[in-house]
């Protein structure tokens, strides 16, 4: 089966979605090797197909699956002494209220520091934040400054929090542990700049919820409304 350019353009999406038989898939693949326009189309459409699985409702497999898998990987026999366990991040490492207070203090300094931060942003790594629900219009950027051992979370178009609430920033580790990072309210123009000590090592997500004023919560009580994937 040989496909011309137009046929491939027509079949590419179906092929990426796994909806073509082997012959058609192969015909698409063969044409792709020779056609730059189709390669560009393929790249664009593939980037979407790759994230479709994330639409699946989140479910955890039972713990036995892990045990069975590791036993099978070891060839069916796993001496107890070498059972591989990756422990979750220990709770005591999460900052106490004191650290939250420190982060709030840092926030107060944010304005004063902002002027020279832009000078330091060049070596930084940045991640976009996007909002949903009430914060759908808000956007932000998480910038890690390795040299300063500091992370800056800059948010704009943030509506005022509901009465009696403040915004609280959380760091979520890859194993799902959540720790508070800062409490903040936006300025009159809906902007906030929050400084977080450290470089987000082991953190997968930075998220914002609304929590009771003035000092927020120890663990989140609201739904995440604004977040960035950072790891």
């Amino acid at each position: 089966m040989v496909f011309d350019h137009e046929e491939v353009e027509g079949s590419l999406a179906a092929s990426l979605l796994g909806a073509c038989d082997a012959k058609e898939t192969e015909a698409v693949r063969a044409h792709l090797e020779t056609c730059q326009a189709c390669q560009e189309l393929e790249q664009r459409l593939r980037s979407v197909v790759e994230v479709l699985p994330l639409a699946a409702p989140n479910k955890e497999p039972p713990p036995e699956v892990r045990t069975r898998l590791l036993r099978a990987a070891r060839g069916g026999w796993l001496p107890p002494a070498v059972v591989v366990q990756v422990p979750p991040l220990p709770r005591r490492r999460w900052p106490s209220r004191l650290a939250v207070a420190a982060a709030v203090l840092l926030l107060a300094l944010a304005g004063a520091l902002a002027w020279d931060l832009h000078l330091r942003l060049e070596s930084a790594v940045a991640y976009p934040m996007s909002g949903t629900g009430p914060l759908a219009t808000a956007s932000g950027r998480v910038t890690v400054l390795p040299g300063q051992d500091l992370t800056v979370v800059a948010i704009s178009d943030l509506p005022p929090p509901q009465p009696g609430r403040v915004y609280q920033l959380w760091l979520v580790s890859r194993s799902g542990m959540v720790r508070p990072a800062a409490v903040f309210v936006p300025d009159l123009e809906g902007r906030s700049q929050v400084l977080v000590p450290g470089t987000l090592q082991g953190v997968a997500t930075v998220a914002v919820t609304q929590e009771p004023a003035p000092s927020g919560s120890r663990t989140p009580t609201g739904k995440p409304e604004l977040a960035a994937q950072v790891g």
Binding site: E9, G10, S11, A13, A14, L17, G18, A19, C20, D21, R44, L45, S47, V48, V49, E50, V51, L52, P53, L54, A55, A56, P57, N58, K59, E60, P61, P62, V65, R66, L69, L70, A72, A73, R74, V84, V86, P87, L89, P90, R93, P128, S130, T132, S139, V172, R174, S175, G176, V178, Q201, G202, A204, T205, A207, P220, P224, A227, A228, Q229
Partner: protein
Amino acid sequence: MARLMGGETDLDIAKALAAGDVTGLAWLYDRYSSLAYSVALRILGDPGRAEDVVQDTFLKLWHGADRFDAGRGSLRTWVITSVRNRSIDYLRGRNAHARKEQEIPLEAEAVGPGSDPWREVAHSLERNLILEALASLPAEQRQAVELAYFGGYFHREIAEMFQVPLSTIKGRMRLALEKLHSYLRAKGYFDGL
């Protein structure tokens, strides 16, 4: 120490896997098993089968770990593409007949009420955005994508279901993916990838 605290990077994991270190498999599993299981369950609709497919997929990735190429995509993509394909093979093979009678959920599903949002938070924002993008599509385009990707149906089968020409279904798939791309890009989704 950082390795024990979940701070390992995808590159650390890939290196450990390539070196045949089972710790790499444990890291890979701890990071991506819930996503893999969610995808398998979404496709298969049966927890027992989804568990089998997840275990098989990770085992297969473990045995062929050298085939992961960091230059060609992320570990996450590697894992979820594998688990999706394996789930679909399962549907198309052993279960191909029963599948016809199975009800395929066509509507984008919301995050389940009563679940602990913080168990899910690492993916929930990303998922919500993708669900929003899917929900923004005309129903016939969304159905074409979901039936193919999650339902494992071939384009011909979908064309028969809707009693439309094959080219119409292919066109819906193409339009759907283009619109999803524009939607996600406008939200800055691809900026950080």
